[in-house]
Amino acid sequence: MILRALAILIAGALPLAAQEAAPTKPPERIVADLSRDDVDITTSFDGSEIIIYGAIKREAPPLATPLDVIVTVEGPALPVTVRHKERRFGIWVNTGKVAIASAPNFYVVATTRPLEKILDPAEDSRFRISVPLAMRAFAGAAEVDDVVPYTEALIRLREQHDLYRLDEGAVRLAEETLFRADVRLPANLMEGLYATRIFLIRDGKVQDTFRAPIEVRKVGLERWLYRLAFEKPFLYGLMSLALAVAAGWGASAAFRQLQRS
């Protein structure tokens, strides 16, 4: 785990494009599509499902070693601070904290088989596939001696809220050619650009990658309110107050009518 945390630090300093240069002319290539490339958040939004499907295009007959597919869906990255409580003078107090400059608010890894059996660790850190590698870098120098429990806590807490997930065996692969993954997006989804990545794995090595964006956005009333709150906050504040006062007066008047009759 310490090595892994170090890898996050070092890799975080490198530009992303340099790490993910795919090998030239792969013998097997991914042809894929998504069931939808945008998700609309309406008032009744209660999560969504995206089907990521495709086929493997090859010039020569497949090799003898087994073929695997990994699908990841990654949400917009934001800074987050992980804090740790300790008992001081009988009460629980926040003592240590680790600031992570950039961690996706949503990250799902779906695979055909258990991740550690199909993916070489070096390839994992190169392409940043597994959940711990989704975090980019620490913000400033760490204040604590051991950051590992903090990064583990971030993953654990996000997993509890269904925001980080490792779905081993969730990708179905037929005849080493056709694959399909159903990815569930939870109800507590944030607006933004989500990135889908598909990796073709043989002998633990990445053979080919495929990327496609998913746009998650608020629509209708949700969008109107959100924009008003950020673009005309004073008007929005007055509107909230007017609503509160009107509701307060309305209920008072209604109850007076009720009591009179």
């Binding site: 959100y226 509701a247 307060g248 209920a251």
Partner: protein, 307 residues
């Protein structure tokens, strides 16, 4: 029925929020407290981000206290002059409180200070009120008809300069202690993210010597304006008011507040004070236990990078 909240960016059960608003509104009508000390922790509990819970809670408090205030105006149980003086002190105190809040968050222990504030003040006030009101109830039972509680006629509040006649409260006292009470409540309210009704009500009864029936209406008057100010500040500077969440809470809140005021008119003042004291002690106990008991997870996440 799930509803997606545009600012909080989470989906929540609409009926649960209406119910939550209703319970808090009931407290508001019954005791003249805004209910901020109840609604903010309850919203945390159902997964609303803290900053949004505090700001939207303030907006809901405006609705339920305004609704309850109208009924009190009708019953003529509001001392407007007292309300304005308290509010003036409150706005000054609130600004001082925000200043302290910023200093504490730079030091990194604002959560702990807020929690300790809650436990200490709720504990002290709850215990004081319970002891006093139980004694008053016993006394009134023994001597049959309810005698008006004898307030100390010439305490420190009567000696200062700038005396004003507060007719609705039947008081002729110096304006300085009233301003000080308003400011102190404003400071604590801003620090703890609440309207401060639960501090204001006992302060009016025990420090200023106001009669309980007028206290509730006057406290509601002051809370309505102070939380409207807070809501606007949060909306403008932090964009943390979620109007959809507010609507759901308000629907429950205004109905609850009306039921609360109707119920409150039927209960005796001592009984009301005992109930409020028990409620305050219960919240205090819960927060105290949170400080002492080992939390479920020793780690917690806060969005953004904290300096």
């Amino acid at each position: 029925m799930q509803i997606y909240l545009p600012i909080a960016e989470v989906a929540v059960n609409a009926f649960a929020l209406v119910g939550l608003g209703g319970v808090v509104g009931l407290m508001s009508g019954l005791f003249g407290v805004g209910g901020g000390f109840l609604i903010t922790p309850l919203l945390f509990f159902i997964g609303i981000p803290p900053a949004i819970a505090v700001a939207t809670g303030a907006n809901q408090v405006v609705a339920s206290s305004f609704s309850a205030l109208l009924s009190h105006v009708k019953r003529k149980s509001v001392d407007f002059r007292m309300g304005w003086v308290l509010l003036a002190g409150g706005l000054v105190g609130s600004s001082i409180g925000v200043f302290f809040f910023n200093i504490l968050s730079r030091l990194g222990q604002v959560d702990l200070v807020v929690q300790l504030c809650y436990v200490i003040f709720l504990g002290l006030i709850g215990a004081m009120m319970l002891q006093e009101s139980v004694r008053a109830l016993r006394r009134s039972r023994k001597s049959g008809p309810i005698k008006p509680m004898r307030r100390n006629q010439h305490g420190w509040v009567h000696r200062g300069p700038f005396k004003i006649k507060f007719r609705a409260s039947g008081l002729y006292i110096s304006v300085i202690p009233v301003l000080l009470v308003g400011a102190a409540v404003g400071i604590l309210g801003a620090l703890m993210g609440v309207g401060g009704g639960f501090i204001m009500v006992p302060a009016m009864i025990y420090l200023l010597g106001m009669p309980t029936k007028v206290v509730i209406g006057t406290s509601l008057f002051q809370i309505t304006f102070l939380s409207a100010y807070t809501t606007l500040m949060h909306a403008v500077s932090l964009n943390t008011v979620d109007i959809m969440l507010a609507v759901l809470l308000i629907i429950g809140g205004v109905v609850g507040a009306q039921i609360g005021t109707t119920l409150g008119a039927k209960l005796r003042a001592e009984q009301l004070r005992i109930l409020l004291a028990l409620l305050v002690l219960a919240v205090c106990g819960k927060l105290g236990l949170d400080l002492v008991l080992k939390p479920d997870d020793l780690y917690s996440l806060t969005p953004g990078v904290i300096g």
